[in-house]
Symmetry: C2
Subunit: 237 residues, 2 copies
C-alpha cells in the first residue's frame, strides 16, 4: 500500500486557543496537497480542499470557491492516492461507516486520509462564524455556530483520522468535512446517513508540521492549552 504525506499548517491546539489569524495562503497550501480540511482567517468558516480546489463553507450557509490569496490559520492537506477502496451499497449510519473505515485502516497508530463519495440521505454540518479581535477561544466561538441540514444529496466527505497520541496537534479520531457535488452545501461534518458510496483510504507515512513562525501573535503568545481535551471534545465532535 503506497503511503502518503500529510502537511499541516498551524495546530488544532493553537486554533482552540484563539489563534485565528491567517498565516498561510491557500495558494501555498495547495502546493502541499490536493485534499484536506481547515479554516480561514478570522475563523471565517470551514475549509474544504477537494481535488486541488479550495472551498469555504461560511457561517451564513453559503459556499465560496477560494482564489488563492486568502489565508488560513490552520489547515491539513494530503496528496491523496487511494490505497484502499470499499464500496458501501446500502443505507448506513455515520457511526457504522466510521466503524467500517476503522476496521479497514492499516493501523490506528498512523494518520489516514479518508474520503467518502456518494449519495447521502441525510447530512448535518456546522460552519463557524467569522470572529472579531480580540478573538475568543474556539470553544466559545463554536457555541453559537450555525448548523445546516440537507437530505438526498450527492457529495464528498474529506478528512483525516488522527492517532490518539496526536490529540491537540490535530483532533484525535476522525475529523471530517463535507462538500456537495453542486458546491452549494458543506461544512464541518456532524452527522450523516450514507445511501451508497465509495470509501477511499490512504495511510500517512510522514506528517509535515509547519509552524507560523512569521506570526508575532503565535510566536509571542503564552498559549493557554488548559482544558484542551475537553474543549476539543466539545467543539470538534
Amino acid at each position: 500500500m503506497a503511503a502518503g504525506k500529510l502537511y499541516q499548517h498551524g495546530t488544532l491546539g493553537g486554533l482552540m486557543a484563539g489563534l485565528f489569524e491567517g498565516t498561510l495562503s491557500i495558494h501555498e497550501l495547495l502546493k502541499k496537497g490536493d485534499q484536506g480540511i481547515g479554516t480561514v482567517d478570522s475563523l471565517d468558516g470551514e475549509l474544504i480542499v477537494l481535488d486541488g480546489a479550495a472551498f469555504q463553507a461560511k457561517g451564513d450557509g453559503t459556499i465560496t470557491a477560494l482564489k488563492g490569496e486568502e489565508k488560513v490559520p490552520y489547515a491539513a492537506v494530503a496528496s491523496f492516492e487511494p490505497a484502499f477502496q470499499l464500496t458501501i451499497k446500502e443505507k448506513t449510519a455515520a457511526d457504522a461507516v466510521k466503524q467500517q473505515i476503522q476496521e479497514n485502516m492499516s493501523s490506528t497508530n498512523v494518520f489516514q486520509t479518508v474520503k467518502v463519495t456518494g449519495t447521502f440521505s441525510y447530512v448535518r454540518v456546522r460552519a463557524v462564524e467569522k470572529q472579531e479581535k480580540p478573538y475568543p477561544r474556539l470553544v466559545e466561538a463554536a457555541r453559537t455556530q450555525p448548523e445546516f441540514e440537507a437530505e438526498k444529496i450527492k457529495g464528498t466527505i474529506i478528512g483525516f483520522y488522527t492517532p490518539e497520541l496526536f490529540q491537540g496537534v490535530a483532533a484525535a479520531g476522525f475529523h471530517l468535512h463535507f462538500l456537495s457535488d453542486d458546491q452549494q452545501f458543506g461544512g464541518h461534518l456532524l452527522d450523516f446517513t450514507l445511501d451508497e458510496g465509495q470509501v477511499s483510504l490512504q495511510m500517512i507515512e510522514t506528517v509535515e508540521q509547519h509552524f507560523p513562525v512569521s506570526n508575532a501573535t503565535f510566536m509571542g503568545n503564552d498559549i493557554d492549552y488548559a482544558n484542551l481535551q475537553e474543549e476539543i471534545d466539545e467543539a470538534e465532535k
Copy 2:
C-alpha cells in the same frame, strides 16, 4: 533568523510504550540531519548525533561510534545552522543555563535545536540498557539504568526544546544528550555545571514526523499510552 527543520522517526510515546525495535538505519537518519538524539534498537543506549556522526552511549558506560547499518526505534535530528549564539563565561548550574536558553529562544511555541559546547566542571548522564523481548515499558527499563558522572570535562550538549502541545510526541521542554570531546563519556543528560561555553540555538519551522509503517509491531499494536505524562516525567527528566 533562519529557521530549521526537525526530522523525527517514531515517537517518544511509542518508545515509552515499549516499541524498542529498530526501524530506521543510522545511514538513513543522517540524511535527515546532522545533530540530534535518540536511542538504538532494543533500547541499547543513548544516541548522540553530532556534526553528522552518530554515537551510542551504552549502559556499560562505553561509547561506540556507529557505522550506519544500526537501526533506531526513535530519533530526532536537525540540520543545524546556529541562528543565535550566547557565550557563558562563568560557572553556571544546569537550571540557570536552561533559563538563559529559554529567555533567548525566539518562542516557546516552536521546537528549537539546542547545542552547548564548553568545559564542564560536572556532568551526570544516564544510559539505558539493552532490553530483551518481550520489551517492558520504557519507564520500567529506566528504573534500573546506570548513571555516570564526570568532572572537568570538555564536551557538547545536543538536543531539542519541544513545545508543550507536543508532549508525548516528544518530551516537552528540554531533552538533551551529552558527548565528551574525547568521545569516551556521554548519555542522556541528567545534570551539569558549565564552567564556560557557547550556547547555540536554531528555531524549527517544520517538523517532519516519520512513522515506522513497515514495522508490524507498531502497525498492529494497540499502543497503551496510559500514564504517558507521568511516565515521561519519571523516565525522561
